[in-house]
């Protein structure tokens, strides 16, 4: 039971060309910047957006094949979809909303309403609210009802579009935990669109990063941390990153050789954890140290320590412990030595994007 997705479609500015797989009992989080095509992916899997090319199949059963024009209608795909801003039917009561899928599939009215009531109880909606209209619900309650409506007809796959977006911060933690439990008890493949790394970490088994309509990287959070392949991914997991080229094993950054025996060739992304960056007044020395002088642009005090933004040819962020800032003049405009530990540098083949919106990601 797995979901195989190969989506090619054009929708306005967006050119979507994404391939990924979701195993049964696996939750995949689609993560990416706005306009990357996450929602379009979900809608295409649900059958609400037609493919220009590619193929979607669920447990070997083809749902859509652009090459032959074969298309299973949305109503026959058995996808449990939680839409962005929920789309609960405004003129139906809460319980009728949840019963809707079962009624559509021909279950008797009483049985559907009983099942809907038990689902509402399961997601924590009190009986007093079963006859309410969706407009009378809070964001968190509407989210719960939307989840119940999607899962009540026992779908074969679950598709959730930004399920926590319309929920305020106070309800978010609880709702995330509940959602995690509901997803875990659902058997089929689960696809989740999120734009927040915390949600992706809490809810998914694997992260698929979409950028400009393409899958740029997929894997666990450890995979992303170990070797981010685009600047967006590096930003997302909080790493400094630089685009560079490796020629014959030699990696140069800003004209200077950083490594001699690099394992990857060609276009790479160099990532450095902010904690692997040290600042000092005197030039640091050592076999694994790469150091240069750069101006300080800004200083920000955080809970764990101090984050210092440095400029120059390799702009990056250094995260210093409280001890690490001792004896340093950290005023913006001052110059200091910046050192990175070469053993902590991660180099991965870079995923080139067709159209660059690099400015968006320039700030760290």
């Amino acid at each position: 039971m797995s979901l195989d997705v190969d989506i090619r479609l054009t929708r306005g500015e967006l050119v979507l060309d994404a391939r990924f797989q979701v195993a049964a009992n696996e939750t995949v989080a689609l993560l990416g910047p706005n306009g990357a095509g996450k929602t379009s992916c979900l809608l295409a899997i649900a059958g609400l957006l037609a493919l220009d090319g590619g193929r979607i199949s669920l447990s070997g059963r083809v749902l859509e094949d652009a090459s032959s024009g074969f298309f299973v209608s949305p109503s026959a795909r058995h996808a449990g979809v939680v839409f962005q801003d929920h789309l609960l039917f405004p003129r139906l009561t809460v319980i009728e909303n949840v019963a809707y899928g079962m009624r559509s599939r021909g279950r008797p009215r009483r049985e559907s309403l009983e099942l809907a009531a038990s689902w509402l109880e399961r997601v924590g909606i009190k009986a007093a609210q079963h006859r309410s209209l969706p407009s009378e619900l809070s964001g968190g309650q509407a989210q719960r009802v939307a989840l119940a409506r999607a899962l009540a007809p026992a779908p074969l796959m679950a598709l959730l579009d930004e399920p926590l977006a319309a929920v305020d911060a106070s309800a978010r933690v609880d709702l995330r935990r509940e959602l995690r439990a509901h997803l875990a008890s659902f058997d089929g493949p689960r696809v989740l669109v999120v734009h927040d790394l915390a949600d992706a970490l809490a809810l998914s088994d694997r992260i698929v990063v979409l950028e400009e309509g393409r899958v740029v990287q997929s894997g666990s959070i450890d995979d992303l941390l170990r070797a981010p392949r685009t600047r967006y991914v590096a930003d997302l997991v909080g790493l400094n990153s630089f685009e560079a080229v490796v020629v014959n094993g030699v990696l140069r950054l800003a004209g200077e050789v950083l490594m001699h025996e690099c394992e990857v060739e060609g276009e790479v992304l160099v990532a450095v954890h902010p904690r692997a960056v040290a600042l000092s007044e005197v030039e640091p020395r050592g076999p694994d140290i790469h150091a240069w002088r750069a101006p300080i642009l800004g200083v920000e005090t955080a809970l764990e320590g101090t984050r210092v933004q440095v400029g120059g040819s390799l702009p990056l962020v250094a995260e210093l412990s409280r001890d690490g800032t001792r004896g340093l003049d950290l005023r913006p405009g001052q110059a200091c030595w910046v050192a990175i530990d070469k053993t902590a540098v991660r180099v991965a083949p870079r995923r080139a994007l067709t159209r660059g919106t690099r400015e968006d990601r320039e700030h760290l």
Partner: protein
């Protein structure tokens, strides 16, 4: 700090000359109503209203206008749905065609209907020949004339409602297994209920007041095709009191329609 209130008020008020003209316009609408009430023969009001002429014209008017409203619903709803949601390139031309009766003088509509559905009309002649059914100068003719004039109001109102509908709800219903017919019935219709109601009321009011197309296509036969507006017109020459009373009756009905439409048309009050 509160904003200076007087200044706000001055911004909201109109210059005096405009205010004067607006007042004249309002009086222009009010005075005819005052005239009706002023000159009404109140002592004989009940007698006249319950008299044979008024009762027969009123019941004919109600029957025919309700039938025209139902016809508008039956055929106008699918037409509105097609105009709002269809993909065809013909839609713009069709919308022009549907809007035409709204701007056309109803008499012209009546003449055109005679040429199409009349005894010698392009459709009417064969129908008369094969089925022996003639539409002009019959009750069915009244209904047809009223539908011709009233349906565009219904279609355009409902089309507006359908257009402003978020199409994603239909998609949501489809993923829950609903057929297009079920989506239309259980999601689309309830969501456009306000514009459906407004469309029905406007179409009914328009059908009730129809004069030009009716008198041209269906004639003015007492008890058969003489609806309220026609009766008022006839009474004006023979019995002005009857005309005034009948007019007041129509004013009351119109006021009721406006009361029912208050949420759609006067949302602030």
């Amino acid at each position: 700090m509160n904003p200076p209130r007087r200044q706000l008020r001055r911004h909201g008020s109109l210059p005096v000359p405009l205010l004067g003209l607006a007042f004249v316009a309002a009086a222009f609408f009010l005075l005819p109503l005052v005239g009706l009430v002023w000159r009404a023969p109140w002592s004989r009001f009940i007698d006249l209203v319950t008299g044979h002429d008024v009762r027969s014209a009123l019941s004919l008017s109600l029957q025919c206008s309700l039938a025209a409203t139902l016809l508008s619903l039956l055929f106008g709803l699918p037409l509105a749905a097609w105009l709002a949601l269809g993909q065809s390139r013909l839609r713009t031309s069709l919308r022009v065609l549907v809007t035409l009766p709204m701007v056309l003088p109803p008499v012209v509509g009546g003449v055109a209907m005679l040429l199409a559905y009349g005894r010698n009309g392009i459709v009417g002649a064969p129908v008369d020949h094969w089925f022996g059914v003639a539409l002009p100068f019959t009750r069915a003719g009244v209904i047809l004339a009223e539908t011709f004039v009233a349906m565009p109001f219904f279609v355009l109102t409902v089309e507006g409602g359908l257009r402003s509908l978020d199409a994603r709800y239909g998609g949501a219903a489809a993923t829950l297994g609903a057929s297009p017919w079920r989506v239309f019935r259980t999601v689309t219709l309830p969501m456009i209920a306000p514009s459906l109601k407004a469309g029905l009321l406007v179409a009914w009011a328009r059908a009730l007041g129809e004069f030009g197309a009716t008198i041209t296509f269906a004639g003015n036969l007492a008890g058969e095709t003489r609806t309220m507006p026609l009766a008022v017109y006839v009474a004006l020459e023979t019995s002005p009191d009857l005309a005034i009373v009948s007019s007041l009756l129509l004013v009351v009905i119109a006021a009721c329609v406006l009361f029912l439409l208050r949420k759609q048309w006067f949302p602030s009050s």
